[in-house]
């Protein structure tokens, strides 16, 4: 276990930056946190959630796949060579870390997504335990412990110090390169922090929310529930929930005609959009209710069915804050999951 005085954090960031690009949550002018590359003077923000989740690092909103360059009647294909070398991310919360696991199941199973894989392998993740979880947090529902965030290097903070605990070889290697900035410390202070956090988690309003009634092979039980009408009736069909969600993984592949060729790129898509998975014969889900249902069924039933019961929600609470009409997965779980839900 290492530690560093909070006021000296900049030294640590500087040291890491010497080794590799470092990204960390920073408050922007709208007072929202977003991940930014550290440069001298960049202040770390203790804000719980960044607006966009940390999935951006591995599955960015748009990503070039390849270019087709035309000259006259000839076409030349140019592969994407923009993938990042090594980089480190500081301040990832437990929920976001868990989301990587959700994405891994999709992108790293055959056929492996090579862009995603490269990015995952090149990253060192510093997590941060959540000292002050918010009312919208319900990671506990999905057995995520905000007091025990894991990652390559697990971090904790109290008033004065940040404690760093490397867990993986990648994490240890990187910390070893920056030891000069760090002091040694025992497990004790962290134990105290963890205990405090766990106590706080128990007092959260959504602590008792349970997704137990959902899970693998429950399609028939939930698909035709009449409550979907009511839940979806106000849905605007925008993509906010899917774009702030750390586990949403749908994308579209599009071509952009640059005038002297075509750029083929993929970008996030949203199952809430009316043209989602549109095919020559039209859309399979023609009504907003169906699209809305798709999203939550996927998170709570289809994904678990295909991934040994693992839910594709991590309880980060972003959608609770950001949905323009304040519809969200908690309301869905409560409505469909019965009264036993907190």
């Amino acid at each position: 276990m290492k530690k560093i005085l909070k006021k000296n954090l900049q030294n640590l960031f500087a040291a890491i930056s010497k080794e590799t690009d470092l990204f960390l949550p920073v408050l922007n002018s709208a007072k929202n946190a977003e991940f930014k590359k550290w440069t001298e003077g960049t202040e770390y923000s203790e804000e719980l959630n960044t607006v966009r989740s940390a999935k951006d690092f591995f599955f960015p909103q748009t990503e070039n796949i390849c270019d087709f360059k035309t000259s006259g009647k000839n076409i030349e294909i140019i592969e994407n060579s923009e993938l990042p070398e090594n980089f480190a991310v500081f301040g990832v919360r437990a929920c976001d870390l868990k989301s990587f696991e959700v994405l891994d199941n999709v992108f790293l199973s055959e056929p492996v997504d090579s862009f995603y894989k490269t990015r995952r392998e090149n990253a060192v993740i510093f997590t941060m335990a959540c000292n002050r979880p918010k009312e919208t947090c319900f990671c506990h529902t999905f057995n995520i412990n905000a007091a025990d965030p894991k990652g390559d290097v697990e971090c904790f903070e109290d008033e004065t110090y940040v404690y760093l605990n490397p867990l993986t070889q990648k994490g240890k290697d990187l910390l070893n390169k920056v030891t000069s900035a760090l002091e040694d410390e025992t497990e004790e202070p962290v134990k105290k922090i963890k205990a405090e956090i766990e106590e706080r988690l128990k007092n959260l309003p959504l602590y008792n929310l349970s997704a137990e009634s959902f899970g693998s092979d429950k399609t028939e039980e939930f698909f035709n529930r009449k409550e979907w009408d009511e839940l979806s009736e106000a849905c605007l069909g925008c993509g906010t929930c899917t774009f702030v969600c750390p586990t949403c993984q749908c994308y579209d592949i599009k071509d952009f005609n640059t005038g002297h060729g075509v750029k083929r790129f993929r970008c996030w898509d949203s199952c809430m959009y009316s043209d989602f998975t549109k095919m020559s014969a039209g859309q399979p889900r023609t009504h907003q209710k169906e699209r809305f249902r798709q999203r939550f069924m996927h998170k709570l039933v289809y994904y678990p069915t295909n991934n040994n019961g693992m839910f594709s929600c991590v309880g980060c609470g972003r959608c609770l804050k950001k949905c323009p009409i304040s519809m969200n997965i908690v309301k869905v779980i409560k409505k469909l999951g019965g009264t036993a839900n907190g």
């Binding site: 035309t70 006259g72 009647k73 009316s274 023609t286």
Partner: protein, 664 residues
């Protein structure tokens, strides 16, 4: 994928001197979709056209790009070449490498480079071109003339003479209009009735003309070549086809106190009346506001005296629906109301009259049988003051009167002054003028004669006020040249009131979707080049409804409008411009934005049932473009927020493709 042929014209040395035409043709060969590219000295020549035709055949071309002079020059030539070779003419695009390239650049390298880019842009557009066919619509071979004054009569006669059916709709019981009320006409001083009434008779007797007198247009639908018009024939309580016009009823009618509007209320008539002796149709009309029989069922004298049995107190308004290919507006003018000009005492003294009233006072058929007597005491006026520009040439912010010059007042005032001095040499005649405007054949000579031969006193200045004093009118005005204020003791004051479009024109314009200017004159399609056409296709303008005019001008414009109508009716079918707006109904919101900006009212809305993506059906309000009316400006395409509206031949994608090619 199109198979495009590119043809680069040298235009002799016009293009070839500044553009390396061979290099252009060569460069274009490598453009995607271009399967053939060549150059030739004169592409528009027969040999050049043959070259294109052969290439179309040999290379199975589907689209052509001609790099040549301006499309305004030869676009039609090359479209015809395409059509002759079995390609849709709208698959041709011109790259203007002469006017907009070789002629404005000197350096050959630069000219060549630009020509290649312009050609590429044309290729990019042709890629997205689709075959277009102009819509066709039948032409109803009948014209409608609204207004039966000299303008309407002349237009109708000219149309009828060309062999087409024409209907005149006139709100008054007789045709003839303002001209029928006039005494003499300037500058030749022929009697108005003598030249007008033969025309009235001629039009009445022409078998191609129908006259709907005492009638109004109430509804207009359709579009050029296919108008449907509803005409309300007001009940005149006299059977038009039975009445012989003998006039016995008008003499016997016991109700004698009806103001005679033909004489501008200066005398009275009966409740049953014939406006004037030469009225057409010469039939009696009962004024329901005064007829005792119609008001309270007592009297019935006219029916008793009518030997023909033409009186029918039960007559009702009748609506006639008729189809027309063209409509001419000839609604004419009226003098403005003088209520806002108290200083001239028009409403205080009977002896302050308008010029039109003066016409009636000097007309042999008028209230005084042509003897100039002043209305108040029927004495001969010894001093007459004419005031010009009453209500004309006022600034907009003066909030009374009209901004424009009424154009005819200078001349008729000169005429009045001259005739007065001619007939009554003992009368002193003064004319207050601001400017005397006499452009026109023999006009200024006429005015000079009034001054020089007839001794009319022209005073440069304006009347400030008219004060009735005893049986005199004190006219106080300025003489600017003498720098004096004059006070003239007059017996009669004649005001040259401004003229304005007839009030019915505004309502009519709305029905016709024809535009008007702020003064309610109809606007022309083009002020110089299309002065007798309204911007709305199939609507034509005749006479003062378009702007102040004298009689000769009115008659010539009436003839011009008629010739335009004849040109339209001579066609069996109207071929439209295929580059018209088109709305994608699935994307249309029904918001009416396009409808609001359309200058031609070509867009209407329909409720239509649609099958929605979720397999339900829904009735939606969507825009419908009448292709026969649309002129293809494209205003609607930008007003449409969803992009449902596009313009054929200039689709958004085509224009963007050109942008892309140019900016590359």
């Amino acid at each position: 994928m199109q198979r495009i042929g590119v043809f680069v014209c040298w235009c002799g040395s016009n293009i070839a001197a500044t553009v390396d035409v061979k290099a252009v043709a060569e460069a274009l060969k490598s453009e995607p979709g271009v399967v053939f590219s060549t150059d030739y000295q004169y592409m528009c020549s027969q040999a050049g056209q043959d070259l294109i035709k052969e290439a179309i055949k040999e290379h199975k071309l589907t689209g052509l790009v001609i790099c040549s002079c301006s499309p305004r020059m030869h676009e039609n030539t090359f479209r015809k070449v395409a059509a002759d070779s079995g390609i849709n003419p709208y698959m041709v695009e011109i790259a203007n490498i002469r006017e907009q390239c070789s002629w404005v650049h000197k350096d050959k390298a630069i000219g060549t480079e630009k020509a290649i880019i312009l050609a590429r842009a044309a290729v990019a557009k042709v890629h997205l071109n689709t075959p277009l066919t102009p819509g066709e619509s039948e032409v109803t071979k009948r014209a409608l003339v609204i207004g039966g004054g000299i303008a309407g009569i002349q237009t109708a006669l000219d149309i009828a003479d060309a062999g087409y059916k024409v209907d005149i709709v006139e709100t008054k019981p007789t045709i003839g209009g303002k001209m029928a009320q006039l005494d003499k006409t300037f500058p030749t001083l022929d009697c108005a009735a003598c030249i007008l009434t033969p025309k009235m008779v001629e039009v009445a007797q022409n078998e191609n003309v129908r006259i709907f007198s005492y009638s109004e247009v109430t509804e207009v639908g359709g579009f050029v070549g296919n108008f449907t018009v509803k005409i309300k024939k007001k009940a005149r309580y006299v059977k038009e086809d039975v009445c012989t016009g003998c006039g016995l009823c008008t003499e016997k009618c016991p109700m004698k106190k009806v103001p005679n509007d033909f004489n501008l209320g200066m005398n009275n008539k009966g409740a049953i009346y014939i406006p004037f002796a030469q009225a057409v149709p010469k039939v009696a009309t009962i004024d329901p506001n005064y007829c005792n029989m119609l008001k309270n069922g007592k009297c019935g004298l006219c029916a008793k005296v009518c030997t023909a049995g033409a009186i029918d107190y039960t007559q009702k308004d009748e609506i006639i629906e008729e189809k027309y290919g063209a409509i001419v507006a000839a609604t004419g003018y009226n003098p403005i109301s003088l209520d806002k000009f108290d200083e001239f005492a028009y409403n205080q003294s009977k002896d302050v009259i308008t010029s039109l009233e003066f016409e009636r006072l000097t007309n042999a058929a008028g209230p005084t049988n042509g003897v100039l007597l002043r209305p108040s005491d029927l004495k001969h006026p010894k001093t007459i003051v004419f005031v010009q520009c009453v209500g004309s040439r006022c600034s907009a912010d003066a909030s009374k009167g009209k901004e424009y010059c009424s154009k005819i007042c200078c001349m008729y005032t000169a005429k009045h002054a001259m005739l007065t001095r001619d007939k009554y040499p003992d009368t002193d005649v003064y004319v207050f003028y601001i400017d005397v405007r006499t452009p026109g054949k023999n006009f200024d000579e006429f005015y000079r004669r009034a001054v020089e031969e007839y001794g009319v006193h022209y005073i440069k200045g304006m009347v400030g006020k008219v004060i009735p004093e005893g049986d005199k009118l004190i006219v106080q005005g300025s003489d600017l040249l003498d720098n004096k204020q004059l006070k003239i003791e007059a017996d009669l004051v004649v005001l040259a009131a401004a003229i304005e479009p007839d009030k019915s024109a505004r309502n009519l314009a709305t029905m016709l979707t024809a535009s008007m200017d702020t003064n309610d004159f109809f606007t022309e399609a083009h002020p110089k080049l299309r002065p007798v056409e309204s911007p709305t296709a199939g609507i034509f303008l005749s006479g003062t409804c378009q702007g102040p005019k004298d009689i000769p001008e009115t008659v010539s414009q009436a003839g011009a409008a008629a010739s335009k109508v004849i040109g339209l009716l001579a066609k069996d079918k109207l071929k439209g411009n295929p580059c018209v707006a088109h709305s994608d109904e699935l994307m249309c919101n029904g918001c009416s934005s396009c409808e609001r900006v359309c200058p031609y009212k070509a867009i209407t809305y329909v409720d239509k049932e649609f099958r929605m993506p979720d397999r339900t059906t829904k009735v939606r309000r969507v825009a419908f473009v009448n292709e026969a009316v649309c002129q293809g400006c494209g205003a609607c395409t930008v007003a449409c927020p969803s992009g449902a509206m596009d313009l054929k031949g200039f689709k958004s994608k085509q224009i963007m493709a050109e942008v892309d090619a140019i900016c590359k």
